[in-house]
């Protein structure tokens, strides 16, 4: 087990994440300008999408591909529902719905870091997992909003009937989903010829850019963790409970996803990626959508949970731990 953690901990991206967090804890004023951070994240989505598309173009689309994608969609629908009913009695309905959506969706950067972990370990993975990731971003948003509509009781209905067009737009067409899907399609369409043209940009620079982006995420996540410790939660739950939940949810979801992966008999790399998709929580697409659709949910609950606790947990401990367990179980 140690060797998994060692591989993970000695990878530059992870270490730069630590460095960013350390900067906050020692109160350095190190900072990545926000437009740069946005750009780095767009680059990562663009590159992973394109690479996934090219990989798809080069591989055969067989039944497992369809099964994997179906399983990931199932996962994206089941998780928000169970999370919502778990939380709904303990906090305002809007907050429960927002957290459910957050954990039902995925974190592209966690996924990307996991692919670079696999690459470093020399374990192959399929391009269709990128498609699965893209498809898993949105369903939880829709489900979260619907659950909120159904279960808020007594609140004045200022919203009128559900605007389905708006709902679809805010869930399926937000910038990051759109960019991944678009890049995937372009990568698929142009295939290896396209890759030959832009591979120095999307492939060679990838890990370096990931380092800088994780440096920034380390800073941002550590700040949120500090806020969480000091914040008076409007949800009525103390910081400890919230942090506990942010550690428990990825574990349960990873178990769920891992079980599905094992049932389907996915190859090692794909199984780990599906597990990490289940375990990860969104801190980009979902919070943005929630501010629009559920402005009464307090962003200082669901954002720090996902960004400051679950994200680093998956990065540092989750990836190697899930990998270890999957190995153990498939070794039998």
């Amino acid at each position: 087990m140690d060797s998994f953690f060692l591989t993970n901990l000695s990878s530059p991206p992870l270490l730069f994440f630590f460095l960013g967090a350390a900067a906050v804890f020692v109160r350095s004023d190190l900072e990545i300008p926000t437009q740069i951070a946005k750009f780095l994240s767009l680059y990562l989505l663009f590159a992973i999408g394109f690479k996934g598309g090219v990989a798809l173009a080069e591989s055969e689309l067989d039944a497992t591909v369809g099964l994997t994608i179906a399983a990931s969609l199932l996962l994206a629908c089941v998780v928000p529902v169970y999370v919502f009913f778990l939380l709904q009695r303990r906090m305002p309905v809007a907050d429960a719905a927002a957290i459910a959506a957050t954990y039902g969706s995925i974190s592209a950067v966690t996924f990307v870091t996991c692919t670079s972990y696999l690459d470093a370990a020399g374990i192959p993975w399929g391009g269709h997992l990128v498609a699965a990731m893209a498809l898993m971003e949105s369903p939880a948003i829709i489900i979260g909003i619907l659950l909120y509509r159904l279960y808020r009781n007594g609140t004045a209905d200022t919203d009128g009937p559900i605007d389905w067009a708006d709902l679809l737009k805010e869930s399926c067409l937000n910038g990051s989903v759109f960019l991944i899907v678009g890049s995937l399609l372009i990568g698929w369409f142009t295939g290896p010829t396209g890759m030959a043209q832009i591979s120095p940009f999307v492939a060679d620079l990838f890990i370096g850019v990931l380092c800088l982006f994780l440096l920034d995420m380390g800073i941002v996540a550590a700040r949120r963790l500090q806020d969480l410790r000091h914040a008076q939660q409007t949800t009525g739950l103390g910081p400890t409970t919230l942090i506990g939940a942010s550690l428990a949810l990825p574990l349960v979801n990873a178990a769920l996803a891992g079980a599905i992966a094992l049932l389907l008999g996915l190859p090692e790399g794909d199984a780990l990626l599906l597990t990490i998709l289940g375990a990860s929580a969104s801190y980009i697409a979902v919070p943005a959508a929630m501010r629009l659709a559920l402005p009464e949910a307090n962003p200082s609950t669901y954002l720090p949970m996902s960004l400051a606790v679950t994200f680093p947990f998956n990065l540092l401990i989750g990836i190697p731990a899930y990998h270890y367990v999957l190995r153990l179980l498939t070794a039998n």
Binding site: T34, D216, V220, R223, R291, L292, L303
Partner: protein, 98 residues
């Protein structure tokens, strides 16, 4: 120069589009939007440091001289702010006609 009201609204950046839409519907004669502000208020610190923009604010400035429009604007903005948080300040100003 004409007397007018200067309305200043601080709201989250993800809601900026909705506010623009609202101002248009309410008949604002124009507006200026300053993006990427940070801040602090009832709902805690907003750091404007995420790639997501979820913790970023922005500032709207609206000048309106017609009292009816001003009233309509203020009443129309209020419900959005109630749901999402943010502040709105109104002050007197002179509008230089050119």
């Amino acid at each position: 120069m004409k007397p007018c009201k200067r309305i200043e609204i601080v709201i989250e950046e993800p809601l900026a589009r909705r506010m623009e839409q609202l101002l248009k519907e309410l008949g604002a004669p124009g507006y200026t939007l300053i993006p990427r502000a940070s801040g602090s208020g009832d709902r805690g610190l907003r750091r404007a440091d995420e790639p997501t923009g979820t913790s970023t604010n922005c500032v709207f400035i609206v000048a309106a001289d017609d009292p009816d429009t001003v009233h309509r604007l203020v009443e129309g903005i209020r419900p959005l702010l109630s749901r999402s948080g943010g502040i709105c300040l109104i002050s007197d100003a002179q509008w230089l006609r050119h």
